[in-house]
Symmetry: C3
Subunit: 344 residues, 3 copies
């Protein structure tokens, strides 16, 4: 179990201590649940009142709140970052031990780096290349000639189809699917004939992919997700989609075929994007929105079809009053008719 | 194969027979497909006409329809409950035999109750505790120190990450994921840094979780689902969400982080709920609705953003007439302008 | 590696050559990426400019573009079909070898046709019947008495519950679930009691099912998907749903219980359909639409609740102007009041 003085923690995260720097910290907890030995964190201003009453030994705070009354303080620029480091230190994530378990199946022509873990009932096919310290949890399928970069973690029951290329320090959560066939057919009369999906999926470094996500391989060429992009659970990414770097895609979003999503974009939960369009860098698309056309300039968009967020907000405010407005319109019509009859 | 007299069935479900209580019943079927020996059930009033022509030996009916002409009757208070019991009796669900299959992997420090079944290619890690009669289907991943209560069934290819606590008589359908990392990042410049997700998921007794559902572990603390709550397929439940008891969550619903859903709530299909809000007990949220704000009082809500259902209904009725209303407004403007010019 | 003359390819797809029929073709690529030896394809008119500059040895074109300047041409009726055949020829999909791998589990009372492949960690239970050339990828669960027709491919980590009947030449992509329990409960007071789901799922010939799709078994009877229907990723199909032939269901669509979808229907991405209704043959339902009522006649529908697409389009065009229209209405009210006061 980790044990650090407050001063050691301050060095680690680049902060300063207000109070007793020699105090020992042995854990991390929420402000309501923390006890002696714990360091805690102000997750939202609405918990400020708890700072006075928390049993934590120390609290992480931003500079602008350094003056608040409470326990000893670790004052930092970015409290979220410091909190993340505390969690890494005091509550390390479980990882399986290195080595190929005898109940795993690794093809003799697969190439494994140093420190790789392949757990029971995982399958690694011919020509696959796994970098150093890759962790393959139980039940994972790694198809032919799949490449996985150093320090990547693939959780249980993930399927990675042949030829996919996964970067370094990628995390893929349980039961996701990388490289499934794109949804492409040639129509002949009423019948659909499968267009073989012969391309691949390429996932950049430091990407995180949630649970039960599906990312289809390209028809020809690549479906790609750029460095540092984060994808939440149950997201659908169709064939030949290209996603930039540091983009955030929230749960249950769907992106249709051949669409290009820029860098630093946010697609909020359950949003949908039609095929063959582009969304510019730095755009934010609201939850449940439907993007039907190119978005060529940075902005915030909502609704289905999506429009500028502030226009959408004002329109939504009127919608619940529509029945009343209709009545007022009918009333005006009646009154004008009356006036018109008088005029004659 | 089960075989019961109508009188025995009446005792079982607390009903009364109209007709021949000694008649043998050997199966259960829909009113259209039933044959001799079958008992059937009036699923909806629109099938009432079939009662006269059904070939079933008996029909389950509520008291208010006891007088209908037709085959022998089993009259009960709650026909759905009686139907469920008939299906349990005549069409038992397949369950695998007790015992740990030699092709399963159970860690030597896992603890298994009586009558547990662990099927081939299932993985049960160190410190896991499985109660009596737990059924683990093929390909299931049970992580470190997971606890599973008596009589719980985990279907094939489910993933349950370390530390999750699953109650008694829970059913988790194929390929669902319990305890995947929440979607939490600290931002530094344009880049996202992972906040470790170190909490757990707690599932209450008698919960049922559909296929390909994802329930994320808490950052710190617990994501929890209360006793008796029923969750349909492809639902997303984010980190630190708390769900009450006897709540119903229909397919493809998404619930964002730290939100609290009350007890006896219904969230209809494809609805979405933003993070950090509360939905009160006994609320009903319509299909595809988007809840953006706290709902503090019981009620029925629809739309995105969600508003009172009856207001939404009336507004929707106007929406298809908007182009016509716009024209009428323009017509009024023209006429008033004319009147105004006359006035001068 | 395949190698064909342009003339041989023309015979294969029923087209004609403009240029050198003896030219050798060794691959297929996109118009931008193609090099010498490749045949390419005009995927969309907006790429027409590339025909002059492509390095491809030949290009597939429809009759109406046969006159365009460029490389040698393969002129066909249906370029998409020809493109699909080229991909099949030059870029064959990976398939595992025939045979039951020693790390697979096949029950002694399962029946396997000729050329069947059962890969490591796949599980095939008692009474299952697999037709000739069926491919079962790693980690697949095939329950009791499941029937799978000739030439069907089941990708990794798919779960097929007991009794399901899968046709010939079906493709089921990774991690999908066939035959999970329907979402059915009898309510007693505030509590829900499970109604056993005792029916099956039947999948017709030539159906393709995407990744992480869920298709629930019927309560009693069958949930069915008709011949040639294509289902994209993350689609939910509830118990007792019946889907016709040659229907297309795009990603993340949800269809509620007992609903009937006709033949040659298109349900676009993220659309939802409530339970116990019917959608007629040849209908098109737009992305994110919500169908709440029977659709009895062929047509195009959008919105939630869904209405005729052209009406919806016109209404949507007005929505962003609602705040302005409200102001104009208020202006009229003010002006009429003034006129009325003058009239008195």
């Amino acid at each position: 179990m980790a044990e650090k003085t407050l001063e050691e923690l301050a060095l680690l995260v680049g902060g300063r201590v207000i109070g007793d720097g020699s105090k020992l910290v042995t854990g991390v907890a929420t402000i309501e649940e923390a006890g002696p030995g714990d360091i805690t964190f102000l997750a939202s201003p609405k918990y400020t009142a708890f700072i006075k009453t928390t049993k934590a030994s120390a609290v992480i705070l931003p500079e602008e709140r350094a003056g608040i009354e409470g326990p000893d303080k670790l004052v930092v620029k970015n409290p979220y970052m410091a909190f993340a480091e505390m969690l890494n230190l005091f509550r390390p994530t479980f990882m399986p031990p290195a080595g190929v378990h005898p109940n795993a199946h690794v093809h003799e022509k697969a190439v494994l780096g140093k420190g790789v873990s392949v757990q029971p009932f995982a399958f690694v096919d011919e020509g696959a290349r796994l970098g150093d310290n890759v962790k393959i949890f139980p039940g994972v399928y790694v198809g032919r000639a799949v490449e996985i970069g150093d320090d990547t973690v693939i959780y249980s029951n993930v399927s990675i189809r042949e030829g996919s290329k996964i970067g370094k320090r990628v995390i893929i959560h349980c039961n996701s699917v990388i490289g499934s066939d794109g949804f492409g057919y040639a129509k002949e009369g009423a019948r659909y004939h499968k267009i073989p999906q012969t391309g691949i999926v390429r996932i950049g470094n430091d990407v995180e992919i949630g649970a039960s996500v599906t990312i289809d391989r390209a028809t020809v060429g690549e479906t790609s997700v750029g460095r540092g992009t984060k994808i939440d659970n149950l997201v659908q990414i169709a064939h030949n989609v290209k996603i930039g770097t540091d983009t955030v895609i929230v749960a249950q979003v769907g992106i249709s075929g051949s669409t290009k999503i820029g860098s630093r974009v946010t697609l909020a939960g359950q949003a949908g994007v039609v095929g063959h369009i582009e969304i510019a860098d730095d755009c934010i698309v609201g939850a449940q929105s439907g993007v039907h056309n190119d978005i060529k300039k940075k902005g915030v968009f909502s609704g289905s079809p999506a429009i500028a967020h502030n226009v959408w907000l004002r329109a939504q405010a009127v919608i619940s009053k529509l029945p009343e407005l209709k009545k007022r319109l009918e009333d005006l019509e009646r009154r004008i008719k009356e006036i018109e009859s008088l005029e004659q």
